[in-house]
């Protein structure tokens, strides 16, 4: 309940921003940062001190009510979002300094924070669905921010894929809410044993594919690379963390807290999600290898990595679940750093394609160093974070056994090799090749960008070193 109140701060703060009339960019920056930091502090305080309390906002009938309640999963997601958002805003101030319509941008950017928090504390599937859709709508202006043809096209694809996917989720939401009397999230599943198992399995697959659209599950994965035309703060925070993780989070909610593990275990309803996500893992990696646009390459890599999580969730075991959530946390930290660096390269040098970025490390040492840390983590070089979570996923899959799980492991391993390929084919020339065409002058990040990138790098290294504790905590969810 208290989290929902905290979420009002960015919601109102963002909505009021155009109205209260901030005269200079600086005033607006300070206002935005103040709102986000205060909200984050509020979230931290609530997570630590506030008692768990339920809030029913409104009630349509006994099956559909808007309820907010916190539990372990929600806390984790809220914590992740609260830790990253202030830095992403800080990064955005410098990034957007020469952009148009920044007033709109920051307003929606801040509102999205509130909506994401509400997703985190949703207490049943109906509430989750509402704010899931809200997030799509709120972030649409951010995707279309450039107001050019490409951006509008990306925006249309964004809507088409996500609303289309959500309709599948909608069907699943209606079915389960009616079957279980509200589909309140309960560990072990809310669907009663007496429900029609065939229908429920169908609903599970629909929910997986529908909410999976936001997590870029094949075949609904095309929007994510297209949406990388958006300004980098959006791609970094929303399309690597908030929006896509909201997709993974919703799938996790469905799998673990609505349907339960036993319902689909070992049936066709498990095979379809497993096969799709195992394939997407490979598909994203292959597309990333061939992509020459840096941000799009990272977006394809996100597609691949999100399916690591979906694959782990689709194992429908406790270990798999914990492994998937672990990867969600770790991947967010890695990918946001990678996007920050990619954005800094774009905005400081105007270069977009990888082959133009040879020898860039001499001009942007900090940026490339941060990229290297996060890139190595993503590749899964021990002892950095990515290794741990991938290791856990594969262990969980082998533990479960079965044809599809083993096939998934193979595709995970191949995709890990491909990850090394698409990261190193950028990193190595950037560090070692002589620079091709371009100035001599230093073009590194400015102070705000540096602070935010360094802070998230620190978090990444901290969770890498503490990964034992992290994994134990997540297992306890």
């Amino acid at each position: 309940m208290y989290i929902a109140l905290t979420a009002l701060l960015p919601l109102l703060g963002g909505a009021l921003m155009p109205v209260i009339g901030l005269k200079t960019e600086r005033a607006r920056d300070i206002y935005t940062e103040a709102v986000t930091v205060l909200a984050s502090i509020g979230v931290f305080a609530v997570l630590l001190f506030a008692p768990a309390k339920e809030l029913t906002l409104f009630k349509l009938n006994q099956n559909f009510a808007c309820v907010f309640r916190m539990d372990g999963m929600g806390r984790l997601f809220a914590l992740l979002v609260a830790a990253l958002w202030p830095f992403a805003s800080l990064y955005a101030f410098e990034y957007m300094r020469h952009a148009e319509r920044t007033g709109n941008f920051f307003a929606f950017y801040t509102i999205a924070y509130g909506v994401t928090l509400l997703i985190a504390c949703a207490g049943n599937l109906f509430t989750l669905y509402i704010f899931y859709e809200c997030l799509t709508v709120v972030t649409l202006p951010l995707v279309e921010h450039e107001w050019n043809k490409e951006a509008f096209r990306a925006g249309r694809a964004y809507l088409m894929y996500l609303i289309g996917g959500a309709t599948l989720g909608f069907a699943a939401m209606i079915i389960t809410s009616c079957a279980s009397g509200g589909a309140a999230f309960t560990p072990g599943g809310a669907v009663p044993g007496g429900a029609d198992a065939g229908l429920m399995r169908l609903a599970f697959v629909l929910a997986f594919m529908g909410f999976g659209a936001k997590a870029a599950l094949f075949p609904l994965c095309g929007w994510l690379p297209k949406a990388s035309v958006a300004p980098t703060p959006v791609t970094a925070l929303l399309h690597a963390v908030a929006v896509v993780n909201a997709g993974v989070f919703s799938v996790a909610r469905c799998a673990g807290y609505v349907f339960g593990f036993e319902l689909a275990q070992g049936t066709w309803a498990q095979c379809v999600p497993m096969a799709l996500s195992a394939f997407t893992v490979l598909y994203g990696a292959v597309r990333a290898v061939r992509e020459i646009h840096l941000k799009r390459r990272l977006a394809w890599s996100t597609v691949s990595n999100l399916s690591y999580m979906l694959f782990a969730l689709s194992l429908l075991t406790k270990d798999g679940f914990a492994a998937g959530i672990t990867h969600m946390v770790f991947h967010s930290l890695m990918k946001i750093v990678l996007f920050f660096c990619a954005g800094a390269i774009m905005v400081k040098t105007g270069k977009k394609d990888i082959h133009e970025m040879r020898g860039l490390a001499k001009r942007m040492p900090f940026t490339l160093a941060a990229f290297a840390v996060a890139g190595l983590a993503l590749t899964g070089v021990p002892p950095l974070a990515g290794f741990t979570s991938k290791y856990l996923i594969i262990t969980a899959a082998l533990q479960r056994g079965g044809l599809w799980a083993v096939a998934g492991c193979v595709s995970l391993i191949i995709s890990a090799v491909l990850t090394a390929v698409y990261i190193f084919t950028f990193l190595v020339p950037a560090f070692y090749a002589p620079e091709t065409g371009g100035g001599e002058e230093r073009a590194d990040m400015g102070m705000p960008m540096k602070i935010s990138t360094a802070a998230i790098c620190l978090m990444l290294i901290a969770v890498s070193l503490l990964s034992g504790d992290a994994v134990r905590l997540i297992r306890g969810l």
Binding site: P18, V19, G21, K23, T24, E25, R26, V37, S40, L48, R75, L76, P86, F87, E100, R101, N104, M160, Y161, G164, F218, P219, C221, G222, L282, V286, R287, V289, R290, T379, V381, P383, F387, T388, Y391, I394, T395, L398, Q399, I413, V417, A420, F424, V428, Y432, A433, G446, M447, P448, I451, S452, A455, M459, V463, L465, L466, S467, G468, V471, L473
Partner: protein, 713 residues
């Protein structure tokens, strides 16, 4: 103690990075002192292990698993050898890198690799070993790429590719094994059931270790990476990194595959092919360091032969196992000296081409002595260290051949002797070329002869001399040194009963003599007759088509496989778009159907909306009049025009102030205007919010970690 051994290089590497370019002397001193302390630490660990009190420790919670370490005889011995090698190469590096760029980068990754190597050798389970193995693989990449020439980059790419692929396959094998046995500790490997699944897992694990050790057919990186890396790095690559691969092979061979006949035969085959191929490539090679690299490959073949013989002999395999372990040690020492001597040649002559190097070492007695010692040791001349270990491996092989009695295994012994002969031949080739032949180019010849004593600094001389010392020492008192090393190491392999052999008996001396005879004959009849022509010098007669990398791996992994995968993906890509579009169409159709019904309502609604918006417009206009610049969105452009101009003025003022301050601090330095533009934004923030931001940043980072750990899930 163990943490100190692992963390110390890490700390020194960070110190080196911080000292960086500004304080070169401090940085070099830091490297040397760091290596020295590491050597002392490891010597102490070795002493404790020798007295039977090995250091053991475990660290739960890293990477979601528990890291375990154990510094018993073999492992502490090898950690000691590693730190000794790092110390020696650090001594040489000062002179070798005098004219190089990016030395800080080299030292940083050098020490990081030491950290990886130490951890890898001290690990007590496969998981820990793998983690440090990967750190080592990644951290050694900058060695190979250091020169940044196209060849170096290509070799480095191969190195990285093999390392990544090997690492992933090993990881897969480990996971499979873990599922079968439930533990990855070295001790538990022996208890694994002998089933096909466990063998598959073992094979996958071995893949990565074979790749690192440079065994056929994964040797492709080795002959390319060693020549292009700087000499101190090649010494470590050849002397230590390949041994890390061998360590893994030892653990798996004597753990999972203990006593497996089929595995023994396969390993023996791989070992002999590696040995022979390396030696043949070495004889053909016309490049000084490439010869040494090929020789490394061949010597790894010897070590693996010893391992194979020990596996085949089951519980009586102590002798060949001791041979393998001591040959590891000997090879590390030999390659350290040889590569560093080659480095001494390269840093003066700036070439590795044998034809241009002809006669380089005439009138350089110190260099002559170093290379000769290395060559004698490597060729297995009695009285030097290589002879002892090779004889032990040979004896073990003969034992197995006699036991099995089949002709095929008799053939193996001949291959072994022939390859040993080739070793003598290529060392003879380089030795005669460097120190006895005359260079046909008069100017070069004069230049080489006139170098005097200045070609090596005192530090480098010390490094070479100290590295050369063990070669006769280990060879002349084999029981005192090598025997002890073997007895310390065998418990790691789970073998016992090594009593040493009569190295200088007639039978064994005869074996040594045969190899030397073969070597001399090959040199005289093949190298001098076929590979050497009087005016041109040494010829490159090795057919280029036989390069496994260029003709098979690169086309397969860089073109064929990605193309196929991509074709499949590109074929499937439109699927998502089609699905989404079809969905949208269906929605449209449905909407069209409903539209007819809802038309009236929609019109009424539209009229209402229009009315409402007109009302709202009026209100907004009023508001705008009252608060003139309140509508933020509309005034964005104004703001940029005027306010941004004002802000710009202020920024410029701050810039000027900064400039003045700078010139006051450093009156003789005129501030670079470019620098000032850079600082402009910095000072803008410095004066306002940077401090607050940094405090806030740290606060949020700590809060994140704290809440993460404290939160009750």
């Amino acid at each position: 103690m163990i943490y100190a051994l692992i963390l110390w290089p890490l700390m020194v590497s960070l110190a080196v990075k911080l000292a960086g370019k500004q304080h070169k002397t401090a940085r070099d001193a830091c490297v040397l002192a760091g290596c020295l302390v590491q050597t002392l630490l490891s010597a102490w660990t070795l002493w404790r292990a020798y007295n039977g009190e090995p250091v053991v420790s475990s660290l739960p919670g890293i990477c979601g698993m528990t890291l375990t370490f154990r510094a018993d005889g073999f492992r502490s011995l090898y950690v000691f050898v590693a730190s000794f090698m790092w110390l020696e190469t650090a001594l040489l590096s000062r002179q070798y890198f005098a004219h190089y760029h990016n030395r800080t980068r080299y030292y940083f990754f050098n020490l990081l690799t030491l950290c990886g190597v130490t951890g890898m050798f001290l690990a007590d389970d496969l998981f820990t070993a793998f983690i440090f193995f990967e750190i080592m693989s990644m951290a050694s990449y900058p060695w190979v790429a250091h020169e940044e020439t196209p060849e170096a980059m290509r070799a480095a790419a191969t190195y990285l590719g093999v390392a990544v692929l090997g690492g992933m396959v090993t990881l897969m094998g480990m996971l499979l094994l873990y599922r079968q046995t439930g533990s990855l500790a070295y001790e538990a490997l022996g208890g694994a059931p002998h089933s096909l699944k466990v063998y598959t897992a073992g094979g996958l694990i071995l893949f990565g270790f074979f790749a690192k050790a440079g065994a056929f057919p994964l040797h492709i990186w080795l002959p390319k990476a060693h020549p292009v890396a700087p000499a101190p790095a090649s010494a470590l690559l050849s002397g230590m990194l390949t041994k890390a691969g061998v360590l893994g092979i030892l653990a798996v061979s004597f753990g999972i595959f203990r006593g497996s006949y089929v595995y023994g035969c396969i390993l023996l085959f791989i070992a002999l092919v590696t040995m022979l191929l390396g030696a043949v490539l070495g004889v053909f090679s016309g490049n000084l360091k490439r010869t040494l690299a090929c020789s490394s490959m061949s010597q790894i073949g010897y070590i693996l032969t010893g391992v194979a013989a020990a596996v085949l002999l089951k519980d009586e395999g102590a002798l060949p196992a001791a041979g393998a372990v001591t040959h590891m040690l000997n090879h590390s020492v030999l390659k350290l000296l040889l590569f560093m001597t080659a480095g001494a040649v390269y840093m003066n002559a700036h070439t590795l081409d044998l034809n241009r190097l002809r006669g380089y070492g005439r009138k350089k007695p110190f260099l002559h002595a170093c290379w000769l010692l290395g060559a004698l040791g490597l060729a297995g001349v009695p009285g030097f260290n290589g002879y002892a270990s090779k004889t032990m491996i040979h004896e073990g092989l003969v034992e197995w051949v006699n036991e099995s009695g089949s002709f095929a295994f008799r053939l193996c012994e001949w291959v072994f002797l022939f390859a040993a002969g080739l070793t003598a031949a290529y060392m003879l080739k380089t030795y005669i070329c460097l120190f006895w032949q005359k260079n046909p180019d008069e100017t070069l010849s004069q230049k080489y002869d006139s170098e005097g004593r200045g070609y090596l600094s005192v530090r480098s001389r010390i490094a070479l001399a100290v590295s050369a010392l063990p070669i006769p020492a280990l060879g002349l008192w084999p029981d005192r040194f090598l025997g002890r090393a073997a007895r310390m190491s065998l418990p790691f392999l789970g073998l016992e009963g090594f009593h040493g052999i009569e190295l200088f008996s007639l039978e064994n001396l005869k074996g040594g003599l045969i190899t030397l005879t073969i070597g001399t004959l090959v040199y005289l009849l093949f190298v001098r007759k076929k590979l050497y022509k009087t005016p041109e010098g040494y010829l490159d007669r090795w057919p280029a088509k036989l390069d496994l990398e260029e003709s098979l791996y690169r086309p397969l992994f860089c073109r064929l496989l990605p193309d196929m995968l991509y074709a499949v993906c590109a074929f499937l890509a439109p699927l998502g778009d089609c699905a989404a579009k079809a969905f949208a169409r269906a929605l449209q159709a449905a909407a069209g159907f409903i539209e007819g019904l809802g038309d009236l309502a929609a019109r009424a609604g539209a009229a209402l909306l229009a009315l409402a918006s007109r009302l709202l417009d009026g209100v907004t206009d009023g508001l705008v009049l009252i608060v003139k610049e309140s509508a933020f969105v509309d005034h964005a452009s104004d703001m940029r025009g005027e306010d941004a101009g004002g802000a710009d003025m202020r920024l410029r003022k701050i810039g000027l102030r900064h400039q003045r301050r700078l010139s006051r601090l450093r009156p003789h330095v005129r501030p670079d205007p470019r620098e000032v533009t850079d600082l402009r934004y910095g000072s803008y923030f410095t004066n306002t919010v940077t401090f607050g931001l940094i405090v806030c940043t740290l606060g949020i980072v700590f809060a994140f970690v704290y809440v993460f750990l404290r939160m009750e899930m």
